[in-house]
Symmetry: C3
Subunit: 131 residues, 3 copies
């Protein structure tokens, strides 16, 4: 299992980690690659990385879908991050990408995004090949 | 493949099944564990299980994101559960967690939640190790 | 890895691909089947396919959860599909289904849906068995 380090700079931020994942699995002979986030206010998604505005739209949209103003119960002093948990879960804690001839079988426009909903932070991402 | 039984007590309820999954995979030698729900109004998510109020927030939030009042077409007599299907799908039917030294590589605050959206019911959860 | 072809006929459309996936994995001896969409405005979900109105509800609901009218930044001339990316990601790019005795361990009411959010188009779906 490979462990990547990701550093985010904003509260809500999608970060393209495609090349880091590709590097981690170089030479793998399995059937698929599991990318996994061991955090509860960050997630992963696969989507377009040709136009960086798609990532900005994801940041806006998740904040609208699970907005700050709802009557959240999870409140820790100094940590107002209740909706961050929902936003992360709507994206999901893992993505799984098939391997073809040892390469990620991503579509032409697809990239792998780390989805930060409670940054800025330094985060971990696990990458492992499945056979 | 292991089959767990889960019993829910409310219409919408997140239930922490981390210890049951951990028990089911004890001694497994694979690379990851697949947890799967064979139901259409229940799902799975991975999120914080330190503060139980996070689970309550998930219950509230999914009912807001896909509310009862929309013009749902799927209506069966005595079974008003159309939005339950969407809520379940937003969480997803499966989670996949890497194994490290035979243990679930969950983050410090992460737990595995069964997400009931049409309870109370007795439900099944499949657990299987992938190599 | 098997490659399926899917043709959609509407802008937003859930299409039941269960039998195509089942056919693709016939005789497989693995532990699970990965179904993957290499597109950024289409996704996959597992849900009820007994009543086709459930699929119609999914089409309506995702258009409400991420509506056309938000201030989307991703705009390409002639291609007003920004929310399509979010809708696809909320469903997810992959599903993973356990195999039991060589058969998909789907629940009684579960089917595998291709989720089109920017059709009509001809699309690809990858299917691969994991061991």
């Amino acid at each position: 299992m490979h462990e990547l380090k990701v550093t985010t700079e904003r509260h809500t931020q999608l970060l393209d980690i495609t090349s880091q994942v590709r590097e981690a699995v170089r030479g793998s002979t399995g059937a698929a690659v599991l990318v996994y986030v061991p955090h509860t206010t960050a997630g992963l998604t696969i989507n377009e990385h040709a136009d960086p505005l798609v990532a900005r739209d994801f940041e806006m949209a998740l904040e609208q879908i699970a907005p700050d103003g709802w009557g959240w119960q999870h409140i820790e002093e100094g940590e107002e991050n209740a909706p961050s948990h929902i936003r992360a879960a709507l994206m999901g804690s893992q993505v799984l990408i098939p391997l073809r001839d040892g390469e990620l079988a991503l579509g032409t426009y697809q990239g792998i995004y780390f989805c930060e909903y409670d940054g800025p932070r330094t985060r971990k991402v696990f990458v492992t090949a499945l056979s």
